[in-house]
């Protein structure tokens, strides 16, 4: 049997349990989507997640205000598998008996309502309390800025992300720091929070005790990616906008071809040589032979190579470049291929192209659900796990508190 078939069978979803069955989670938040993402991850793995609404803003937040039945897109996507209720006195029992509480409100807000960690842990010492906020729930700065609400963009900014994005050779407004086009800080914070919740949950199996887990969205990217701390130590200056080039490897970015764009990476010197071979630019080899020749904090120096490569790449169509790269990959001597090198070249896809790709259909990377007769595409969990596949469903979605119930039928994967 072919490897693909074996794996598809191994990962089949039929009649399998979920990893986090019987884990009771409450997610208390309004517009903080890092908290919703954390809850979603746990829900994908089968935890019973109840989202407790402390406001009614989250469902209005959507790109250009686009909603379906009055519900915004991020809210729709992140309400997977969740029970959604409004905050009131009757949900307090739920909170006090939870295994995991995700608090996406302003620091101290839940304590004012009598459901902060101090209150809950007194009655339920096994509770795992995951707080998500811009500066966390301790430190002097957290206290000073406790009333400044969270947002992805401000968190990106405090993580230093926008200062890295852009073309270093541009001036004027195009030299401003630039945001990452998706919720980079909220996404990372949400995933980190789910990781923290599970580390604590595993530990609780040994100790029987819960604990306080704190996530600062303002640090969620920088604490993971390691670069800023190292720059601060080794250099007396920040990196700046290396958006089209890179500080570890070059080339490592997006480049324009004759008729479209490619992503190009040459992780090793052999890969770079292979690229030069494809492009018939051996003349560049002597000066730019080694990885260390090709990266520099001197932008004017690296510009010489960057411009030469861009000029040459634009002479080829995307198809030609892909074909040349794939030919290299088909070397008959697998042990040698490492020394021969092979640049990574892929076409940059539009969303339509992604959705049409057979590969993602086979992998069920997207779900198609029907809401009021309209087909809606929802990204699936990225995890394939053989014994406890994640599940994503919107059984009676959207069940917006206070509104009439609307049904959604799950469609084909």
């Amino acid at each position: 049997m072919k490897r693909d078939e074996i794996l598809i069978r191994l990962f089949s979803e039929e009649n399998k349990p979920s990893a986090l069955e019987n884990v009771k989670v409450v997610e208390i938040a309004d517009e903080n989507f890092a908290a919703a993402i954390a809850g979603s991850l746990l829900a994908e793995m089968g935890a019973r997640v109840t989202r407790i609404e402390v406001g009614d803003e989250a469902m209005k937040i959507s790109p250009y205000g686009v909603t379906i039945n009055g519900v915004g897109i991020p809210y729709l996507v992140e309400s997977r598998n969740k029970e959604i209720v409004k905050f009131n006195e009757s949900v307090k029992d739920l909170i006090f008996s939870a295994d995991i509480i995700i608090d996406g409100t302003m620091p101290g807000f839940l304590e004012e309502l009598g459901i902060g960690y101090r209150n809950v842990s007194e009655r339920n010492p096994a509770v795992i309390y995951v707080a998500i906020s811009p500066f966390g729930h301790y430190t002097s700065k957290a206290k000073e800025f406790k009333n400044v609400p969270d947002s992805d963009l401000t968190a990106q900014a405090y993580n230093g992300y926008p200062t890295l994005i852009g073309n270093p050779y541009l001036t004027g407004e195009h030299s401003y720091p630039l945001r990452a086009g998706l919720w980079a800080a909220w996404i990372m914070a949400g995933v980190n929070a789910a990781v923290g919740a599970l580390i604590a949950l595993l530990e609780r199996l040994k100790s029987g005790k819960g604990q306080f887990v704190d996530i600062a969205t303002n640090d969620a990217i920088a604490v993971v990616t390691t670069f800023s701390a190292v720059m601060g130590f080794l250099f007396d200056k920040p990196r700046g906008r290396f958006g089209t080039i890179d500080y570890l490897l070059y080339p490592f970015g997006y480049h324009k071809a004759k008729d479209g764009y490619i992503a190009l990476a040459t992780p090793t010197d052999a890969d770079f040589r292979a690229l030069l071979k494809i492009l018939k630019r051996w003349d560049l080899e002597p000066d730019w032979k080694y990885t260390l020749d090709r990266i520099s904090d001197d932008l004017e120096r690296i510009r010489i190579l960057d411009e030469e490569l861009n000029k040459t790449l634009q002479k080829f169509t995307v198809k030609e470049l892909l074909k040349k790269a794939s030919k290299l990959r088909k070397s008959k001597l697998p042990f040698l291929s490492r020394f021969l090198g092979r640049p990574v070249i892929v076409k940059i896809n539009t969303l339509r192209e992604v959705l049409q790709d057979e590969h993602w259909k086979i992998r069920k990377s997207f779900l198609r659900i029907k809401i009021d007769g309209k087909e809606v595409i929802i990204p699936n969990s990225p995890i394939k796990s053989s014994e406890t596949p994640p599940k994503v469903s919107y059984p009676t979605y959207p069940r917006v508190p206070g509104s009439q119930e609307r049904g959604a039928t799950p469609g084909e994967g």
């Binding site: 693909d4 990893a19 937040i61 720091p177 995933v191 980190n192 992503a263 042990f335 995890i383």
Partner: protein, 439 residues
């Protein structure tokens, strides 16, 4: 009653319990970032992680130093990503080495690999082979596009995955025909954190059932998971594409230049935040603020308002009126940010080989079982002796033989691979396998 923030602080500084993941054994054959970051996180919270590299060059990330700058012959990026790990080097082309690798994985709770899809099968350490001898194994394969499907054999890298996943076209200026990658290897770090989540879920399931499992996670699908643009596309038939500094789900929003030449990010999500800003800028009229052309107009009004104020003034107003605003930090400001030092997300480690230096702290702050950075990534093959004795019970003589035969090996004399020039092998008991690392 103690102030809330002081109370939480007292928890963070209070009594600690045994490390959360103590006793968990992890083996990884990984390189660059996606794979290694998984072991990094598990090791921060107490797991014993053995990383297997190729003798000589080791993990190819070792050579990828920031702007080519090494420190005491180490690449600090590698050293941080591979902190708390036991680094061994065995040549997988050699049959004896493959046997050693197999025996190590047999003893592990978790195995992580990010080689080309399917290569582990050729090495005799594929999931099916390991499961037969270790049914409790949680086996994680990391790749660009997943382990099956037509694209699975394509090589991948952070930028490539961003391109294939449709993420690439999201970041950039609207009026320019170019776009930028999500920096700092987001296409590696995000999937790796998601993978840690998957591993922990599987461990929890195993605690209840005794069953291990196979996990397949890809860079592309991890990125696509959070691309709400796909859903937007299915509803409207349009691709949002790049929108400069405007977050189209948050209006007004952007990064604006202040009077004192600095930058401030402002992002209005809720009606009350909008009203708060409107109380300061009366020209802001709500209407349907999210509508495309309105969003642009509102942003212009905010830009003008910001232009007339200093950064500090705006941050004070944000505190008082409760709307999201933040300075835009750069590397240096992050590295020296007093808040991060107080929080512990940057801290100093005293490493036996590299000396005292600042590193990012544990990724998740936990009150009772905080993460730790105990030692930094070691040279290629540094823990060969220690691990072969400790895990497989080999004698010094047996290990000598394996060295002679080239089954296991050490570093080439290159930056990123080798110990500091002043390091003395004779005096290093850990290197000689006589003593464990401390911490």
């Amino acid at each position: 009653m103690t102030d809330y923030f002081d109370f939480i602080k007292s928890l963070m500084e209070g009594e600690k319990r045994e490390e959360a993941l103590k006793g968990l054994r992890v083996v990884e054959i990984t390189h660059f970032i996606f794979g290694p970051n998984i072991g990094r996180v598990l090791a921060q919270y107490g797991a014993e992680v053995v990383k297997i590299e190729t003798p000589g060059e080791g993990d190819r990330y070792r050579i990828a130093a920031i702007f080519g700058r090494f420190y005491k012959r180490a690449n600090l990026l590698y050293a941080i990503l591979n902190a708390n790990k036991y680094i061994i080097a065995a040549d997988a082309r050699n049959e004896k080495a493959r046997k050693i690798i197999f025996e190590l994985i047999k003893k592990a709770d978790v195995f992580v690999e990010n080689l080309s899809a399917g290569l582990v099968d050729a090495m005799g350490i594929g999931y099916e082979a390991i499961r037969k001898v270790n049914p409790r194994i949680i086996y994680v394969s990391c790749s660009g596009y997943g382990q099956y499907g037509p694209l699975s054999r394509l090589p991948s890298f952070d930028v490539a995955a961003q391109g294939v996943a449709g993420v690439a076209m999201k970041t950039g200026w609207e009026d320019l025909d170019e776009f930028y990658k999500l920096p700092d290897y987001f296409g590696d770090y995000l999937p790796s954190m998601y993978a840690v989540f998957a591993v922990l879920s599987a461990l929890y399931f195993r605690e209840n059932t005794g069953k291990g499992q196979y996990i397949d996670i890809s860079q592309c699908e991890s990125l696509m998971r959070f691309m709400y643009d796909f859903t937007y596309f299915s509803l409207t038939g349009e691709e949002i594409g790049k929108t400069g500094n405007l977050d189209p789900a948050s209006v007004p929003s952007g990064i604006f230049r202040t009077k004192d030449g600095k930058f401030v990010a402002i992002s209005i999500l809720t009606s009350s935040q909008f009203e708060a800003l409107k109380s300061l800028i009366p020209q802001l009229e709500n209407g349907n603020r999210f509508e495309k052309s309105r969003a642009r107009d509102l942003n212009k009004i905010v830009a003008k308002w910001v232009e007339e104020r200093n950064l500090e003034e705006i941050l004070e107003l944000a505190k008082k009126h409760r709307f999201p605003a933040s300075p835009v930090l750069d590397d240096k400001e992050i590295a020296f940010d007093p808040w991060r030092w107080e929080r512990g997300s940057i801290l100093k480690v005293k490493d036996r080989l590299l000396g005292e230096l600042p590193v990012p702290g544990p990724i998740i702050a936990m009150s009772a079982t905080p993460g730790k950075i105990k030692w930094l990534g070691r040279p290629v093959g540094y823990h060969n002796r220690l691990i072969l004795k400790k895990w497989l019970g080999l004698s010094d003589r047996e290990i000598d033989e394996l060295e002679k035969e080239g089954v296991i090996g050490y570093w080439d004399e290159m930056p990123g691979l080798a110990p500091p020039a002043t390091w003395d092998a004779e005096k290093d008991e850990v290197f000689r396998g006589e003593k464990d690392e401390e911490g």
